[in-house]
């Protein structure tokens, strides 16, 4: 009985590992897509990236730009799918990490020839966050030294004038 239990646990982990590998293999990078546009044109692809910039709602759809670290690609998403997106990547925040399954278009006829992906499914794989900015002490010290130097230059200028 115990052996059967061990076997079940081992099989469960094998299943999980294989499942994650198959997901990972399914994800296509932006470089791969952009360099092989004709190969992927019209095919369903899985792409993953960080939401950057504004999520731009256009009636029943929205444009979400996903950056995988190399390039950003525009994703045309039904509005109902974007409710999970909370953080948009910018200087002050790390955007949500999203995995999208959809049809890749080399030159989308609907969107004036844009290279885009029309999303069919969207899954949040990582949550974004607000980035807290800490004062860079090195920069502060340099600034102090420069301020003193600038004051000396200004005093020197005034003295010479006097």
């Amino acid at each position: 009985m115990r052996q059967a239990g061990y076997l079940t646990i081992v099989l469960f982990f094998i299943f999980l590992t294989l499942n994650s590998i198959s997901w990972a293999q399914g994800i296509i990078s932006s470089t791969e897509l952009i360099n092989n546009t004709r190969l992927y044109d019209g095919k369903t692809v899985v792409y993953e990236g960080e939401v950057v910039g504004d999520v731009m709602v256009r009636q029943d759809y929205a444009w979400v730009n996903l950056n995988d670290g190399i390039n950003a690609i525009g994703i045309w998403v039904p509005k109902t799918l974007i409710k999970d997106i909370l953080y948009e990547g910018s200087y002050k925040s790390k955007g949500d990490w999203i995995e999208v399954t959809g049809v890749f278009n080399r030159a989308c006829a609907l969107h004036g020839g844009d290279l885009d992906i029309h999303a069919q499914a969207l899954r949040k794989t990582g949550s974004g966050r607000i980035l807290t900015e800490r004062l860079n002490l090195g920069k502060r010290n340099i600034l102090l030294v420069l301020t003193v130097t600038l004051c000396l230059v200004l005093i020197l200028k005034q003295l010479k004038r006097a």
Binding site: I34, N35, T37, R38, V52, G53, D54, V55, M56, V57, R58, A62, W63, N65, N67, N71, A72, G74, G89, S90, Y91, K92, R106, A107, A109, H111, G112, G113, D114, L115, D116, E133, L135, N136, K139, R140, I142, L143, L146, T147, T149, L150, V153, L154, L156, K157, K160
Partner: protein
Amino acid sequence: MILKPHIDDIKSIGYYLAKIIVGLGLAMLIPIFLGLACKEINPALDFLIGTEIALIFGLLLKKLCFTEKDLNWMQGMIVVSLSWLVAMVLGAIPLYLSGHWKSFLDTCFDSMSGFATTGLTLVQDLDHLSYAHNLWRHLIMFIGGQGIVIVALAFSIKGLSGAFKMYVGEARDERILPNVIDTARFIWLVSIVYLILGTLALGIIGILNGMNPFNAFFHGACVFMAAFDTGGFAPQSQNILYYHSLAYEVTTIVIMLLGAINFKLHYHLWAGNPKEIWKNIETITLFITIMITFFITAIGLNQLNVYPKALVLFRKGFYQLISGHTGTGYMTIYAQQFINEWGSLALVGIIIAMALGGSTSSTTGGIKMLRIGIIFKALKQDLKRIILPERAVVVQKFHHIKDMFLEDRQVRSVLLITLAYLALYGAGAIVGMFLGYPFLNSLFESTSAAANVGLSCGITSAAMPAALKITYILQMWAGRLEFMSVFTLIGFVVAVVKGK
């Protein structure tokens, strides 16, 4: 015998250079205010450091080189060429401190690209760059587009008869108003009025496109500055593709074309003389060359069936073409698509458009329309001379603000500058090929750098060899200043070394 420059030459150059350095330092106050308003503390520190370095150097140089003498031609030209190099280094400091560039050389590359209104970029992770740094990237395009010296002329240097020498050194040889300082101020007035209108238009489109209002107007201002000054930087890594908007594309096309028009024509438009625009040799030549280069590009795209519909082909092809022809460099496709999809013929169309450029006394780079128009008029004149009887007096006229007779002296000067541009495009392409890049890619990128365009077929990246980065920096600098002030600086250095 080459004469060694006198100490007075160096003092005059140093004094006026110092004024420009101080002006540049003060310009950094704008991103400081934005950084503080947006609570971006470290970016504000970066610009405070940049400002203070500029002020320290500027004030010391001003003190050391104080003179009341006016500039002569040589000194004026050298002040201009040095100003651009100094501006590149000073402008790069706050950008480098942001940590978004891999090396100081990369930052200098982007800084020169900004000031020279090129638009090629080596920035990393642009989508997370602060508002302050992003504003600076676009502001340096606005300053560089009008001309660094024009800024100084308009705001700080008063009543200087040597001003015209610096004005000419910055590749503007036409005075719009009798006084060169009034001309500089007019250029700024035009630019600021258009900036307000353009920002409003793009901001409203941005909001309608679903952007948040602050971002919409911030992007509007940045994109306007880069489009009107035919620069090509954008606040996001996808460039204009980020907006996914036909309205944004149409508006930027209008702004790019406005930027490619001679400021003298803007003056006539403002003065209620729109007829000039239809008669002027530059606008006629621009219209013809746009048609020809678009025809070549469209045939190339059609041959390879790159786009599924004619309307889509027009939207993509025409946008990249206008962007290339006006020297802007805005893109609605990815850089790799040029090489992987567009094919040789379409690329040749874009390369020709980039090489030709926009109007003289505008913010564009390249050979420029007045020169192309004059070359064709000269060709026509020579053909007439062959066809008509020997005793016939052949006179060729052209209209540029007023009716003018074509003179051989003019043609010679035009051909020399054209030849210099062609040599510059070729030299960069040879360096690219020497470093292992294919011919067409090298020529595309070299032309883009030298004509201050900014379209890229993928060569420009942080991973490209340092030698190529330096080559492109030099091309952007020489191309923007149209050679004369650069040649004068080289002559000056030779005189310092070899003079007696």
